[in-house]
């Protein structure tokens, strides 16, 4: 079902800020219908990788390849619109290209934000902003959705719903999804491929494989034996179990250990 040709692909992507290397030879590909989640500690280069894929950050080395005619729907981490700009949600959605009023209504309904159409964008809560920005991205009929920490400004109750929504959208529209996530518990459950980043790709693969990887455990201190329910369950709900990501069994300094295999 999945086409083998990727939507985007980075090869040996390297980004340096001054003398500091933020990304080192990163290979990453996202195909249609696939959800790829980037996780990693602060400063691991997750946002830089996203910005490189979007063309917002020029790579120091390596290449970023995009499928010809690729349409990207980007959802930034936050929206900072000055309070002096009179802008309703409806108007915000129409700023990026021609859209019909029907499409706006339908898309707002799809993300559960139909009631917000005439609200000033500055009056929205964190969760509402994310829904509206998701609607904005969807209106562009994207082949690839790029989400930068979609749940960051969302309260805990809203996070599960937001990830479920992203998952539903991916299934309905068949677009690829590339997202950065801080929060392992919800993000991983709907993910096809988890990429653990720490300047370079530490490990990548299906979430159930990655979580057993020593590098992943070193970074997140996850004990695989103590954490089955929330990862293996299909839905985003953790059934009341605390995500064990907070039980640090390894010192964070272990993170810099070399790979145990090539």
């Amino acid at each position: 079902m999945l086409s083998t040709e990727p939507l985007i692909k980075t090869t040996g992507l390297t980004v340096q800020f001054g003398r500091r290397t933020v990304l080192q030879s990163v290979d990453l590909a996202v195909t249609a219908g696939e959800v790829v989640t980037l996780v990693g500690p602060n400063g691991a280069g997750k946002s830089t990788l996203l910005r490189s894929v979007l063309g917002l950050q020029r790579p120091t080395g390596g290449t970023v390849w995009r499928k010809a005619g690729l349409r990207v729907g980007y959802m930034p981490q936050r929206l900072a619109v000055d309070a002096t700009l009179p802008l309703t949600v409806r108007r915000l959605l129409a700023l990026w290209g021609p859209v019909t009023p029907e499409a706006v209504e339908a898309t707002l309904g799809e993300v559960g934000a139909a009631a917000l159409a005439d609200s000033p964008v500055q009056s929205l809560s964190g969760g509402e902003v994310q829904r509206v920005m998701l609607a904005r991205a969807l209106l562009r009929r994207p082949d690839l959705l790029v989400l930068d920490e979609p749940a960051q400004a969302v309260d805990v109750a809203g996070q599960a719903t937001l990830y479920a929504l992203i998952d539903a959208i991916r299934r309905r529209h068949g677009c690829g999804v590339l997202m950065v996530s801080h929060d392992l518990s919800y993000a991983i459950s709907g993910t096809d491929r988890l990429v653990c980043l720490n300047g370079h790709v530490c490990c990548a693969g299906r979430p159930e494989d990655v979580r057993r990887h020593p590098d992943f455990q070193a970074l997140f201190g996850v004990d695989p034996l103590a954490m089955p329910a929330w990862l293996s369950s299909a839905g985003p709900h953790s059934h009341g179990t605390t995500p064990p990501g907070c039980q640090h069994t390894h010192a964070p300094s272990d993170a810099k250990d070399p790979h145990p295999h090539g």
Binding site: R51, L54, G55, L56, V72, Y74, P76, L79, A80, V81, D82, A83, T84, L85, P86, L87, T88, R91, L92, L95, W96, G97, P120, Q122, S123, R140
Partner: protein
Amino acid sequence: MDDFLLRALAGGIGVALVAGPLGCFVVWRRMAYFGDTLSHAALLGIALGFVAGINLMLAVALVGLALAGVLVLMQRQRKLATDTLLGLLSHTTLSLGLIAVALLQTVRVDLMSYLFGDILAVSDGDLLWIWGGGAVVLAMLAWLWRPLLAMTVSEDLARVEGVPVLATQVGFMMLMAATIALAMKVVGVLLITALLIIPAACARRFARTPEVMAGMAAVIGALAVCGGLGASFRADLPAGPAVVVAAAALFLLSQLFPRRIVR
């Protein structure tokens, strides 16, 4: 009414109609200090214009553009915050302008008229520049409106959506520089920013769309010009400052109206 008063009104209203809509973007993009910096550099433009013997408005616009270019280059260094850079450039260029004007020996420059405006001395030639140039600025603003608005909402998003961000930014700087050059005669280099931001801040209260806010800012600016010139004529007040005070009075009045859009 006297001829000079009619010309003053025509010049002032012409400038206000341009400054209002452009000023909305200055407010939305939080660039008030940038406007200040450009207008402070205008005096340097005047001095250089005298030396080069070219039209002073053109000289002011060119110096403004050059300054905007310098600022963009300095911002890339990322060593100093933008407001620090603006403060540095703003007062350095103002001082350079004052020194340059003092050094001009061939022409005697009436410093006060450039600092605070000389609206009662607006000539027919000035009117031609203000209305002709103003029409060009407004037409270009209308053309840039959509990409500018998109950039104002989110620059990253605009870039990803293929908005030509750099070109739009350069275009906006050109409009700012041109407007400052046009407004200089009316309110003077020290007061131009007031004409950009006060009408816009005033219009915010009543507007529900960006376009309505821009239109209202233009009208409010024109009202301030009429009120200021009227007061100046009756009470023999300096005209430029009277216009700015009239705008501020309108702003205070606007605050008495109930808030329409709750933050």
